[in-house]
């Protein structure tokens, strides 16, 4: 069959480079139901009949399940149930049923493996059919076999959390819940069909410095378990079945990349001060307390954004005040006397905690999340605020409220913060009451109301990721529109400038903690706007610092005037390249 001939040919797949770096290793597929690991094992002659019976029982169970489903379909929809009736016939189709039994008996292998083998042979048969409708009928066979497989595997399905091999993960999509379960630090890299650079998973990959390529469309259909693959997260390329020459080439690139990273990291501890003496605090965004080491190694001037969702995503229950406090204290203490900005819960808590979800939101980005969720669940909110306040005794803490879209939300959040502080005082707990409180500016309404919002807070932190998503109406995980998502969009630049101007006028501080701050090419703009604090993924800090040291704030201010006259992203980019191209090309770390 032709499929076998082409199987080992080198193949290049192009996606979105979500996290830079190169890794070379074995592929490990993650299925929809968790990890799709079907084990293969030998069945002794004496146990063959048992194994065949196990298969027959699984088929019977699967049939019964499907029959139940069909019977529960309302009469008026029965017409549409025909495909399920077809599935009922397929269960006992000799090419599936008898063939699997035959395979168990002839090859002395377990039922799961035999079924898998039979189905993949059938897939190959259908692959050659020209008619697209008939070709897709292979899906029916796959459905039926999956139903049998679930009954075969039963409770033995492998948990995603158990992956601890040095492999490259291949998945259709990795949700934040998935990524919170996988011990990503044990994985070499990952690639997915869906997602983009700014997706949650991409952000986590970058913060853990593991290469990732996303938005590959159908990579899960192309790559098989144990295939040797190369992931180039810098240029967004995945190479399947690489040749000797390609392997050599990529081993060389991998070494070069890592050497380059090391060289820029060496200067990471130096101050970020421009040639003309303007100094910027270059801080780190973190999600896990384990990342503190990386912040310190890369020369971070503090933590500009501590995302607190992880503890909520990784357990089946809401974390207790003490659990939260211990984590916050660890981070605050390790970074002190430098500041740590702790952002309160920025997710839909119902979704995060297993089994509490009451209904599905069709549009979660516009739903009950972040501050909205917290204000609706003041007990959950107060628990977190008390934990944060208790951590203030151990260093320099600021509190940041996410997703603020109205003034009322800020007033309400501050009221609950006061209540939390009062309750701690009553209990005689030691903490600092007068800490800085700020809000994320990431919703267009907050940009427009910035002058009013400023009177309630000590600082603004501009979250560019969501601000771009909400302002330009772009889902950054949708690869068809992901290319339109650009921080240099003139609308975004004007918004950022407006917020910076208002903050200066009102005498409060303005910071930036979005992805925008982490790219050296954006630094002239942020300097031009006189942002005094930038926060980014730890590994981006050295490159940003070295960029700042090469610039003059005077030049940046002047350039900003021209930049604001531009109407298109490409013109903004051109201006930046014309003025700073040489500096950027010397410092950049592409390839």
């Amino acid at each position: 069959m032709t499929a076998i001939e082409t199987e080992d040919k080198e193949m290049r797949l192009y996606g979105i480079g979500a996290s830079p770096g190169i890794c070379i290793g074995k592929a490990y597929l993650v299925g929809k139901e968790g990890v799709d690991v079907i084990k293969k094992y030998h069945i002794a002659e004496s146990r063959l009949q048992n194994e065949v019976n196990r298969f027959k029982i699984a088929v019977e169970k699967a049939k019964k399940e499907l029959q139940g489903i069909i019977e529960n379909i309302p009469q008026e929809l029965r017409e549409h149930a025909y495909i399920l009736e077809t599935h009922m016939v397929l269960f006992k189709d000799k090419l599936l049923y008898e063939k699997t039994i035959e395979t168990i008996e002839n090859e002395h292998i377990n039922a799961e493996w035999a079924l898998k083998k039979v189905v993949s042979n059938l897939k190959a048969m259908f692959h050659n059919i020209q008619d697209s409708y008939l070709k897709e009928r292979v899906d029916d066979i796959v459905h039926v076999s999956e139903r049998i497989m679930l009954n075969l595997v039963g409770a033995e399905t492998v948990n995603i959390a158990d992956i601890d091999k040095r492999v490259i993960l291949v998945a259709h999509d990795l949700s934040p819940a998935d990524t919170s379960q996988i011990q990503l630090e044990k994985i070499m890299g990952f690639i997915t069909d869906r997602g983009g650079r700014a997706s949650h998973t991409g952000i986590i990959a970058r913060s853990l410095e593991i290469p990732a390529v996303m938005g590959l469309d159908n990579v899960t259909a192309i790559i098989k378990n144990d295939d040797i693959i190369i992931v180039d997260g810098t240029s967004g390329i995945v190479i399947v079945h690489p040749t000797e020459d390609t392997l050599k080439d990529y081993f060389r690139r991998k070494i070069n990349y890592e050497a380059y990273q090391e060289s820029i990291n060496r200067d990471g501890h130096l101050l970020a001060e421009t040639v003309d003496g303007f100094s910027v605090q270059v801080m780190a965004n973190i999600e896990l307390s384990e990342e503190i080491a990386s912040v310190i190694d890369h020369g971070g001037d503090g933590i500009g954004l501590y995302r607190t969702e992880f503890q909520y995503l990784s357990s089946a229950f809401f974390p207790s005040e003490d659990e939260l406090f211990e984590k916050y204290k660890a981070v605050v203490e390790a970074i002190a006397p430098k500041p740590v900005v702790i952002r309160t819960l920025d997710i839909n808590g119902d979704k995060a905690i297993a089994d509490t979800s009451e209904f599905d939101e069709t549009n979660p980005a516009l739903g009950l999340r972040a501050i909205r969720y917290c204000l609706k669940n003041p007990d959950v909110f107060k628990t977190q605020l008390r934990a944060i306040l208790r951590a203030t005794a151990f260093g320099n803490v600021r509190i940041l409220f996410p997703m603020i879209s109205t003034c009322e939300e800020v007033r309400e959040a501050r009221r609950i913060l006061d209540e939390a502080a009062d309750s701690l005082e009553k209990e005689g707990v030691v903490f600092k009451r007068n800490i800085e409180v700020g809000i994320m500016i990431e919703v267009p309404s907050a940009v427009i109301m910035a002058d009013v919002l400023a009177q309630y807070v000590d600082f603004f932190s501009i979250g560019t990721n969501d601000l771009i998503q909400y302002s330009l109406a772009i889902d950054r995980d949708n690869k068809d529109v992901a290319h339109l998502y650009h921080p240099l969009n003139p609308a975004i630049l004007r918004m950022v400038k407006h917020v910076a101007d208002v903050a200066r006028e009102k005498g409060i501080k303005v910071y930036m903690c979005g992805e925008m701050a982490g790219d050296p090419i954006h630094i002239p703009i942020l300097l031009g706007l006189e942002m005094v604090e930038l926060s980014m993924n730890p590994q981006a800090i050295p490159a940003v610092k070295s960029m700042i040291r090469a610039l003059k704030v005077e030049d940046a201010r002047r350039l900003m005037k021209d930049i604001l006259k531009q109407t298109d992203v490409k013109d903004v980019l051109k201006l930046l390249q014309d003025n700073y191209g040489t500096i950027i090309s010397e410092k950049m770390y592409t390839e």
């Binding site: 495909i83 009736e85 016939v89 397929l90 189709d93 000799k94 059919i129 020209q130 008939l134």
Partner: protein, 93 residues
């Protein structure tokens, strides 16, 4: 030979729009499973077992394909006729 004498075949044209798709194949397979001996569907020299949905699907019979239906045993004449009727009715679609 005895067998050839007993063999009966009929030529058919697939008239329904979707060809021998999953439901149609399932309907044929159900009838063929009642046969005492084998029932075959032959297209372009390729012969498949009519009692297997998957086998029928792999023939990839689109609309207007010509197929031959064959039974190994005269006793299955009823089955043959039922299938012929089904195909000629366009599977009641």
């Amino acid at each position: 030979m005895d067998n050839t004498l007993r063999e009966i075949s009929r030529d058919l044209k697939i008239i329904n729009d979707l060809g021998l798709h999953a439901r149609a194949a399932a309907m044929i397979a159900k009838l063929a499973q009642n046969a005492k001996a084998k029932v075959w569907i032959i297209k372009d020299g390729e012969k498949v077992d009519a009692s297997s949905v998957i086998d029928i699907l792999t023939l990839a019979c689109v609309k207007d394909s010509k197929v031959q239906l064959r039974i190994d045993d005269r006793l299955d004449l009823d089955v043959l006729n039922d299938i012929v009727e089904l195909v000629e009715s366009g599977f009641g679609e």
